[in-house]
Amino acid sequence: MAERGKTAIDRERCKGCGLCAAFCPRGIISLAPEINSRGYHPAVVTDPGACTGCARCARMCPDVVIMVERVEAA
């Protein structure tokens, strides 16, 4: 039974620093081409199904804008 994660990134509060993307072991975070209202390219999870819920992204986020949940996948 694999563990699956679910992340929620607050795009409006994200500053596009890229630390989450650099430290995601699955390599599933990238910065969006569009910008948020403050002019930053927000982080997006490109392959949510591959997320393990390890929360490394959230631990590195200096702006505390990532929430992580872990779900048991059948």
């Binding site: 890229g18 631990r59 590195m60 986020c61 200096p62 702006d63 929430m67």
Partner: protein, 248 residues
């Protein structure tokens, strides 16, 4: 469904004003998580310093007193002595603590004041535009050392934790870093211990946290963490330098 990560209650909802990728934000969050875990939010008083974290009172969801540059340990001493049942911590940069505030930190440590000090070392004066700090590395380029810190003229960086470890007053002294997730987890353990030491009445506690300043270092946030690991860690080793388990 289990929550793996959520915003701690000891942070207000205000967005940080810090530059993108600045690890002041990570350190704020770790302190807030520790306050939540120890259940001391209603009983904690923070003392903010002068530097980029001057607005810390907007972020820590506890009572906060703002101190003049470098004087946070003296202000914290007063608060703790008048209100000994409160948990009192300062949050200070390296310019604040290791330069203008050297006297205050040394004497608060020597007196063994029962306060907790969070010392954020980013090897420069971030707020004022990246000037040389006592903690700036040999050869490091800053706005006031454009050819790199020349130790024959500007002297050598101060390792504050090692220096304070020569005193009998401190109960807990440690240096952490936040340049990758594993280090962030370790840093949190040290920060937690630094609060527990105060709650157990053991004495003065300080954790130095190596932190990035992408803006003044002229590096992208990810590169800044690599720079920190490659350049700061060899000069500023992480670890516990003093760790009393019971009062002496």
């Amino acid at each position: 469904m289990a929550t793996m990560f959520a915003r701690p209650e000891a942070l207000t909802a205000n967005p940080f004003h810090y530059c993108p990728g600045c690890t002041h934000g990570v350190i704020h969050r770790l302190v807030a998580e520790v306050i939540d875990e120890l259940g001391i939010r209603e009983n904690t008083v923070a003392v903010a310093s002068v530097g980029c974290s001057v607005l810390a009172y907007n972020y820590f969801n506890v009572d906060v007193q703002q101190a003049a540059h470098g004087r946070a340990p003296a202000v914290a001493t007063g608060i703790k002595r008048v209100l000994p049942d409160r948990v009192v911590f300062t949050y200070q940069g390296d310019g604040d603590l290791a330069s203008i505030g050297t006297a205050e930190i040394v004497h608060a440590a020597a007196r063994g004041e029962k306060i907790t000090v969070i010392f954020v070392n980013n090897a420069n004066y971030g707020m004022t535009g990246g000037q040389l700090a006592p903690t700036t590395l040999p050869g490091q380029v800053t706005t006031t050392s454009p050819s790199g810190r020349d130790v024959t003229r500007a002297g050598y960086p101060i390792r504050m934790v090692e220096m304070l470890a020569t005193l009998d007053g401190p109960a807990y002294l440690a240096r952490a870093s936040v340049h990758n997730p594993a280090q962030v987890v370790k840093a949190k353990k040290m920060l937690r211990r630094a609060f527990e030491v105060q709650m157990q009445g053991l004495g003065f506690a300080l954790v130095e946290v190596l932190s990035s300043c992408p803006t003044n270092w002229g590096l992208k946030p990810v590169e800044a963490l690599r720079w920190l690991e490659k350049n700061m860690l060899p000069y500023y080793p992480t670890g516990e330098f003093k760790c009393l388990q019971q009062a002496v």
